[in-house]
Each structure stands twice: as structure tokens, then as C-alpha cells.
Symmetry: C2
């Protein structure tokens, strides 16, 4: 019996640590003189991603990478080629890939999205999904569950705006995000198989949600969490420790890794003289990933 992707990821996290390296690679995260020395800004992003993927895979620094599609869409068709190539490079380096797409639509459209992101050019192992439109929006992705594909559904996100809808109170006394939790739980009950160590669907819970972390971890003990907000967004380490208990999860860091060169003391001179090369900033990113891995393993 083939394992569900969430279990494969859970095992990868126990083996390599819970760090997820976020490749939300905006060209502005690379010094402009490096970008200018390369054929195009999309090519620069691709080369930067390639160096990071190679370094992370070589040292086993992360259990997965998360690619935020928005930054690639913003570069048009050329950006989408780099998105495709980045996913391919990561999968070829045996890293589990999370496509951070936050899609969700009526059934027929979600079917098209599932095809788009689980097969073909943009194939990833795992996607992120938005539950606003309900269970319809999620179900078409579950058809790929037995083919080793998985999904994280937004539960309680890391941004301030989580207060506007997600954290509002229902007449039952629960928060709106519990409705997303119910969709996840119900689907997980249906897909549960003997011996599974976590549900088939995971949930996104921000590292910034101090007040909700303990509650969510206890309410959904068998759900694997994707935890954004570590690093640049200022997520709390105690919160992350809480969220990593029970079924555990993976902790994403994007900008703190991609932009590590901007604050890296060992690069001070080169940074000031504007003589950094792509390998310098990639090595800085890899050092930041190494430090992030250690921080997470020592929680």
C-alpha cells in the first residue's frame, strides 16, 4: 500500500528536520548588478534557486522546498518557465516540493487546478489550498492522494488579516477557521487507513498565531502542519515548538534565507564594494538554512 504524501513528508521531517526552504524568489532579492550580469532577471532567479536547491540537498538541510508561484506569475510566461524548472530541479534533487498556490474554486475548476499542479509542467508533490469556497474546492485534489500527492489547507494563517475572517467567532463559539478544520477532519476520516501516522490532508497554521497554537495543536493532533511565519515574518519559537508536537509539521523560511546575504557579516566588504557574485549570496542562503535547521532541531 503506497504511503500518502503527508506521511512521506512527516518521515522526511523526522529524518532531515522540519525546515522547509521557501523559494519565493523575487528578483529584488538578488543584487541588481548580479541580475544585470545574467541574461535576464528570470534566468538570475533560476540560477539562484538552482544553487540553493543543490546546497540544501547536498547537506540534507531541509525536508522540502516550498515554491510561491506568485513571484513567478509576476514575471509572465518566462517566469512560469522558471517555476517549472525550479520544481523540476528540486524533484530531481529528491526534495519534496510544495507548490504554494492557495487555489480553490468550484469543482470543475478545482479539477483543472489539480491537473495543473499535480501533473505536467507544473507538477509538485504537495499544494496549498484555500477553503473559503468549501469542500467542493478541496475534493478534486484528493483524487490524486493515492498517486502520492498531498495538500495543505489554509487553517489559520500567519498574517494580520487572519483576524478579519479566520479568527472571527461563530455562533457555536468556535472561530471561523474551525470550519476549515472540519473540512480537513472530515476528509481525513474518509481517507484514514490503518497504520497512518497522520491525516491525508495537512493544514497551514502560522507561527505568529500565539493564542491559537496550543488550541489548534490539541484540536487536530493527527494533522500535519505547514508552518509559515518563521524568520522574516517574526514567528515565535515557542509557538513553533507547540505546533511541531503531536503529528508535527514543517516550518517554512523564505526571505530570511533568500535575503540572508543582506545581513551576512562575512560578506560585508563585498556587499559594500558591490562585488558579490551569485555563489556568495547562495552560500549565505545555505548558511542561513543550516542555522535555521539547527534552531528548529534544538527547540
Amino acid at each position: 500500500m503506497k504511503k500518502y504524501m503527508m506521511q512521506i513528508l512527516q518521515e522526511a521531517a523526522s529524518k532531515s528536520g522540519p525546515l522547509c526552504v521557501g523559494l519565493d524568489t523575487d528578483p529584488s532579492y538578488i543584487p541588481d548588478y548580479i541580475v544585470n550580469s545574467i541574461a535576464s532577471s528570470t534566468e538570475a532567479v533560476k540560477l539562484y534557486n538552482q544553487c540553493i536547491i543543490k546546497g540544501v540537498a547536498a547537506e540534507n538541510l531541509a525536508c522540502c522546498v516550498k515554491v510561491q508561484i506568485a513571484y513567478y506569475e509576476a514575471a509572465g510566461v518566462e517566469g512560469m518557465k522558471v517555476y517549472r524548472d525550479t520544481l523540476k530541479m528540486a524533484r530531481e534533487s529528491s526534495l519534496i516540493t510544495i507548490a504554494d498556490i492557495k487555489r480553490g474554486d468550484i469543482g470543475a475548476t478545482s479539477q483543472a487546478y489539480a491537473r495543473a499542479h499535480y501533473t505536467g509542467d507544473f507538477e509538485a508533490d504537495i499544494v496549498t489550498l484555500n477553503p473559503y469556497m468549501g469542500r467542493d474546492a478541496i475534493e478534486p485534489f484528493m483524487k490524486y492522494n493515492k498517486c502520492g500527492k498531498g495538500a495543505f489547507v489554509l487553517l489559520c494563517t500567519s498574517n494580520g488579516g487572519a483576524a478579519d475572517i479566520e479568527k472571527q467567532t461563530l455562533k457555536t463559539g468556535e472561530s471561523v477557521f474551525c470550519l476549515s478544520g472540519s473540512i480537513i477532519e472530515n476528509i481525513n476520516k474518509e481517507f484514514a487507513r490503518k497504520g497512518d501516522k497522520c491525516g491525508a490532508l495537512g493544514a497551514v497554521v502560522g507561527a505568529t498565531q500565539c493564542d491559537a497554537a496550543q488550541y489548534l495543536r490539541q484540536k487536530y493532533p493527527n494533522t500535519l502542519f505547514l508552518i509559515p511565519g518563521f524568520g522574516a515574518q517574526g514567528g515565535d519559537l515557542a509557538v513553533i515548538k507547540t505546533l511541531l508536537s503531536c503529528a508535527g509539521g514543517v516550518v517554512n523560511s523564505s526571505r530570511a534565507i533568500l535575503c540572508a546575504w543582506m545581513k551576512d557579516n562575512s560578506l560585508k566588504n563585498k556587499r559594500e564594494s558591490k562585488t558579490l557574485c551569485l555563489d556568495d549570496i547562495a552560500q549565505s542562503a545555505i548558511r542561513a538554512a543550516r542555522a535555521a535547521k539547527d534552531t528548529l532541531l534544538n527547540l
Copy 2:
């Protein structure tokens, strides 16, 4: 003072009628022998879209077209080229373009999405947005408001799954979708200018939401609605009439137009003998759009 896009669309709807032609063009909506006679299925989709756009523009059958990006993402990089080209053809035919993307993410990512869909290869006039993550997810798009770009935010969608989160009851007695409504209203208050005939942000309200239609139309009288669910999804004409009152809106029909050839009596013989050509099915789509326009104008 440049008009906001929602007003331009409102005026276009008064002039040409409220029909929005949905180009959710899955290759399976085209007979396989026609697809096989063309270089690729993506090329077939592009040519079909082109015929429909030309016909709709020539006869002034619709005020806008809506392109559902999922169907293009599903065809990978080649699909994204057709997505780009479809938007370009529609804009060159002076049709207002709605990119049905339902994006929504943390601020920095929503900024990238706004850049992706308001500028460059994938430039559209209007996008659809998902409010689950709150106001943060919407605001970056408003920066383009003064450059003549607009957005519809999901309020109460046309699918069955709307019951799972959107239509649940809050402790205030209101439905969860009213939280999305509050985000829209608050932003619209901030952006309001003397003489505006509708808010800067529009809302998506499904034609299938019989019980909510009257309530939503009265609660948000100045908000332009994007109304999916007409045609293939079985939306109710009385509901559409209600939703089109006050600030009005645009009514989308996708599959009923794109797949009109499948039930078109005048094509029975050609359909049975499998001798349809691209122009046959495009003319059938255009006849269906003409009929849909008439239906909507006679409500």
C-alpha cells in the same frame, strides 16, 4: 479624474448588456477530431477563443469576457502562452477582461500577484480575489485602482460548498460572507469619490444563491456584482434579476456558450457525421451568446 474600472464596467454593461462571456476553455469542449486537425490542443483553444472574441466584439454581445486561468495552467507553459494571448486578443477587441484567478495571500505575495495580473504578459483589467486571509490579501490590488484596474472579491459563491464556510452563522447572527462584505465596504468607503456610481471593489455573488440574493443586493446596494452560475450551473433568472438591480452587475456564462455546439439542433447532422469545423462550433457559441444577451436584457 480617471474613472475606476468598476464604473467603466458598469457603463459597458448598461450599453452592451450584462453578459460576460466566460472563456474557461477546456480542450475537451472542442470535438477531438477538430483538436487533432490543429497543431496542438493549446493552439485549438487559442483559435476557438479568437473566433468567439471576434464574434462577440463584432456584434457587441457582451460587456466583458472572463478568462478562468485554471484551464490554462492545466496545460503548462504552453497553456499560459494561450492565456496571455487570449487576454491580449480580448483587450485588442476592446472587451473588458476579467482574470478569474481567485488569488489572495499575505501582503508581499498579494503584491506579486497584483503585478502578475495587472501588468506584463498576463495583464487583465479586473481580477477576482479570495478574502479568506483578510484585508491584507486585497489591499495590494487597490494600489492599481487609480490606474484603471479593478477587482471582484468572493462574497457568496455559486457552488454547493458555499454552505461549508461562507454561509455559516457568526455570533453576531450574520453569515461568514458578511465578513467579506465588510472588507469590501470598508475599502469602498475609503476609495469613494463624489460622482461614483458604484464602489471601487465589486463582489462575486452566485446566481444559485436564491435565499441570499435579496439580502445581499439590499445590504450592498452600491457594489457591482459578478454573477456566475448562469447557464450550465443552473442559476435562477429571478435571482439574477434581483442581483442586477441597484448597482447592477455582470452575468457570466461559460460552458453554456463554449459547449453550445453539443446541443445545437442546426449542427445535428454535422455532429453525428463528425464533420464539424472550428467555425461551426464558434458560430454556435456566438448564437448562444446572442441568446444569453437577449435573455438577460428581457429579465
